[in-house]
Amino acid sequence: MTALLTVDDLKVDIKTRSGTLHAVRGLSFTVNAGETLCIVGESGCGKSITSLALMGLLPRTAQRSAARLRFGDTDLTDARHARKVRGNDMVMIFQEPMTALNPAFPIGDQLTEAYLYHKGGTKAAARARAIEMLDLVGIGSPAERLSQFPHQLSGGLRQRVMIAMALMTDPKLLIADEPTTALDVTIQAQILRLLRDLQQKLGIAVIFITHDLGLVSRIADRVMVMYAGAMVEEGTAAEIFGAPRHPYTRALIDCIPQPGKTERGAPLGTIAGVVPSLIGTVQGCAFRTRCAFARTDCAASVPERAEGSHRWICIHADHPARMTETA
């Protein structure tokens, strides 16, 4: 498989009054063409910042650096090259469909905008493409929708419009930042199914960012778990759900209610404690303050371990709970 997106040692620093906040601390991963990578973590772990950093959409107070940041043959650290890719081969949809569309313009205008800018061509061609895309995402009577304004559409419809808008330029990579979090549960399922179908039909690679591990199991080819701005574990969906190695991943999985296994009314698992401040340097494992298996040497540097495509960063060679189980 060819790597579509290569990220090597990505860092994002945000200047604040109380010091520099290291939101992303040396993240490396790849996304292959046509696969779905899920980035999972609690809020504030840096997963959304990572997606904005990939797209070059960070606020001006944030500083991005990377040893390598490539999309195909394009070097994304070069702003001029990145702009040709952004919104064209690499597109993004966001968490809040209610506010992500501009209230002042009809959706037809917003749909065709990027297409006309990146691909050129006539307005009529762009319009035809927009109608085709709206149809593809399952919006009825698409031609009439073009002249409607965002406030005339429901949240679910708006997210479909956002997806259609992203697909206009026939992209190779779609970054979806919690695209279903703000929606009702039934709409959530619809949008998720739509994304999965589109991904299979069009062969687009997807980076799906979420805090909901239950959702990940339904769509992911590969999963990356983040904690405090860094990767703690990465592997195929089977590896992560079948044999999680990091105590944090394990704790997250224990939080998912499972039909049949989780008793009705029984308390769901929670992880005690809070995410540490990302201001200043963190030495050793950032999770150790909340980890049931922490040892004193977790404060020293912790090794990255690998087993085939499965990577994790922990003092323990395998998940400690399982080691005791098997022992």
Partner: protein, 305 residues
């Protein structure tokens, strides 16, 4: 929407009525209008005639009711000084003031929108600081001082524009520049704040995610949305424009309502002064009412409730 509209219009009428009482009462505060009118050293007979002519011996409430009743039919009485009907006098001056207001508003918008947008886009940077410095300096420079400086350079030394008077378009240049400059700083702050607000919106991020060039993102997606609330706030600032026109018309002897007000103050010409105070207040009341209605119409949440 209907209830909101009714309430809003009711409030405007109430405010207008209260303002009319103030406008009327203000000038009766210092007891004897007749003596003031007749001037120093007037004989008791003269004063008696004036009291008779203007009905100054009747109770204040009656005087007010008569005045308001007449005012509603467009009759503001006769000017003590110009010896002409006040309404006629006002109609003859209104054009000049409107011209001045429109010109200076144009100048202010032409300056404040680009500067405000620039400051918002680069907020926190040195560009923002330079823009806010310009705005602070503009606010600090007294309008009458700026007027005299402009007269010195453009009227006296360069002889490009007349220093005072009315008649040709050249007469409007210096007053409009002064007044426009005077109202630019607050406008600029409003545009900046509105743009910072608009730029922080999710749809701006969406536009950036499309890979559009920065100017398209700022000028199309953000500015369009920023201008809606700004237009409303600008109307509220029109009080500044109205007040400023009094000072500036007086300096340039530009024959508008402001200059008329200044003259009527100097000549203690109460009918004229009352009418102008009432009229200028009403302009403000009506404009804010209109801006509220337009805003309510633009904002779907207000439209529904």
């Amino acid at each position: 929407m209907g209830i909101y509209l009714a309430k809003r219009i009711g409030l405007a009428v109430l405010v207008a009525l209260f303002v009319s009482i103030l406008a009327f009462g203000l000038l009766r505060l210092q007891g004897n209008a007749a003596t003031a009118l007749a001037g120093e050293g007037a004989s008791p007979q003269d004063i008696a005639i004036i009291v008779e002519t203007y009905g100054l011996d009747r109770p204040l409430v009656v005087q007010y009711a008569t005045w308001l009743g007449n005012a509603l039919t467009g009759d503001f009485g006769t000017s003590y000084f110009f010896k002409r009907p006040v309404a006629e006098l006002i109609v003859s001056k209104v054009g000049n003031t409107v011209t001045l207001a429109v010109l200076s508003l144009g100048i202010a918008l032409a300056l404040s929108i680009p500067l405000g947008v620039l400051a918002a886009v680069y907020s926190g940077s040195w560009i923002d600081r330079v823009c806010s410095l310009i705005s602070l300096m503009g606010q600090a420079l007294p309008s009458f001082f700026l007027a005299l400086c402009l007269v010195m350079v453009f009227a006296i030394q360069l002889r490009m524009f007349p220093a005072s008077g009315t008649g040709s378009w050249q007469h409007f240049v210096l007053p409009a520049v002064t007044l426009g400059y005077y109202i630019t700083p607050p406008f600029m702050r409003l545009v900046r704040a509105g743009m910072i607000d608009a730029l922080s919106n999710d749809y701006v991020r969406t536009a950036r995610a499309k890979g559009l060039p920065a100017h398209r993102v700022v000028l199309k997606h953000a500015l369009r949305n920023a201008l809606v609330p700004v237009v409303g706030l600008v109307t509220v600032q029109l009080g500044l424009l109205i007040g400023g026109s009094v000072v500036i018309e007086s300096i340039f002897a530009l024959d508008g309502l402001g200059y008329l007000a200044y003259q009527s103050i100097s000549y203690r010409d109460f009918p004229v002064l009352q009418a102008v105070v009432l009229l200028l207040s009403l302009v403000y009341v009506v404009l804010t009412l209109l801006s509220d209605i337009v805003n309510a119409w633009l904002d779907p949440r207000l439209r529904v409730s």
